[in-house]
Symmetry: C2
C-alpha cells in the first residue's frame, strides 16, 4: 500500500495490518489508528493486550469446532446441553448468532464452511467425518441442519442428510423473516413461505 | 454490550474493545475478531505486536504536534523542509492527506482541532500559542491555513490570521474539486469557484 504517513514505520505497519480486517480499508484503517493513538491508555494498550491474550489462549474445540480456551468448549462439556440435539452450522459466527437468540439448548457442530465444487471443498475439508463420529458416540436423537439458504448451504445439507441414515435430520424453516414486509421479499422466499403455510 | 459469544471472556473483551474503533460496531467487531482468530499467526499476533510497538513509541512532536517516535518529528527536523512555509492543519489526518499529495515541501503545524464556542474550545486548547512562538523563532515567511471549509475551520482561520500581523497568511483555494461535476456540486462551491475564476 506504500507509505501513508510521514515516515513512522511502526504506524505504517499498524495501518497496513488494520487494513486487512474485514470492513476496514486503507482509509478507515488510518482513521482507526489515529483514534487508537489518541486513546492510547483507554483503547490502544488494552486492545493490544486483549489480542495477545486471545492469540495465546483461543483455539478450536476438538469436538465441535467452536472457539474456546480448552480442548473441549463450554457448550460441549456442559451436562445441561446433552439434549441429544446437534445443530450443524457453517461457521462460528452462525453458532454465536444462534446463542444470541437463546432458543437452542443442545450442542453444536461447526462445519467450517460448505461443500463447494468450485472451491474444491469436499466432505474431508469440512468437519463432516467428525460429525458422523459424534453421532456414533454421543447419544444423538436429532441433527438440525442450521445452514444458510444458499445453493452451497443446501447442497451441504442434502449431503449430510444422506450420510446419516436412521437419525432424524431436520432443517431450519424457510419463510417470511420477523418484521419482514412482503413488498421487499424475493420471489423464492414468498414461494417458500406460501408452500410452508400453517393453519392459524 | 452484554455477552456476545458463548462464554469466552477474553473474546468478549476483545470484541468490546474492537467495537470502540471508528467505523466498527458490535457486528463488524465480531466479524473482525473471527477473522483475527482464523488468521492468528498472519494477522492477530502481528497486529498485537504492532499495537504494543506503537503504544510504546509513538508520541506527539513537541514542535508541530505531528505523531512521531522522537521529541521532534522527521518533518520538523529535516533541513530540506525549512522552506519558511508552515501549513496549519486541524489534525494529523490532514497532515497525512497533504503528505500523500506530495506537493507541499514546507513544515506543518497541527492545531489539534478548531475553535468552537459550542464545545468551549478556545485558542489555548489548540496549539495556537505554540504557532505564534514558532513564527518568532523559525524563519517563517508564509503561513498557509489548510483548514476545512467549515464554519469552525474558517472561524479558526480568521482568528489565526488576526494573531499574525506582518506575516503573509494564505489559505487553500476553494473551487471545483478535480473530477467534480457541476451538477453534483453545492451552490456555495459553485459561487466560490465562479468568484475565483481564472483567465485561461
Amino acid at each position: 500500500m506504500g507509505k501513508m504517513t510521514n515516515g513512522t514505520e511502526d504506524l505504517d505497519n499498524l495501518i497496513a495490518l488494520m487494513a486487512k480486517l474485514p470492513g476496514l480499508g486503507p482509509r478507515s484503517a488510518r482513521r482507526a489508528v489515529l483514534h487508537l493513538i489518541k486513546k492510547r491508555s483507554l483503547v490502544l494498550l488494552p486492545l493490544a493486550d486483549a489480542m495477545q491474550q486471545v492469540g495465546a489462549t483461543v483455539r478450536e474445540c476438538l469436538n465441535c469446532g467452536n472457539v474456546c480456551t480448552a480442548d473441549i468448549c463450554d457448550i460441549c462439556s456442559a451436562d445441561k446441553r446433552a439434549t441429544g440435539q446437534i445443530a450443524v452450522v457453517e461457521d462460528v459466527a452462525d453458532l454465536w448468532a444462534m446463542e444470541r437468540a437463546q432458543v437452542f439448548k443442545g450442542r453444536y457442530h461447526v462445519l467450517g464452511g460448505t461443500l463447494s465444487a468450485l472451491d474444491a471443498i469436499g466432505p474431508d475439508e469440512l468437519r463432516i467425518p467428525k460429525l458422523i463420529d459424534r453421532i456414533k458416540t454421543e447419544n444423538v436423537t436429532e441433527v438440525i441442519l442450521a445452514l444458510g439458504a444458499t445453493i452451497d448451504g443446501q447442497t451441504t445439507a442434502h449431503y449430510i442428510a444422506d450420510q446419516l441414515p436412521g437419525i432424524t435430520v431436520t432443517s431450519l424453516a424457510q419463510g417470511v423473516p420477523v418484521g419482514g414486509e412482503l413488498d421487499y421479499l424475493d420471489d423464492g422466499t414468498i414461494t417458500a413461505a406460501l408452500n410452508a403455510r400453517k393453519a392459524l
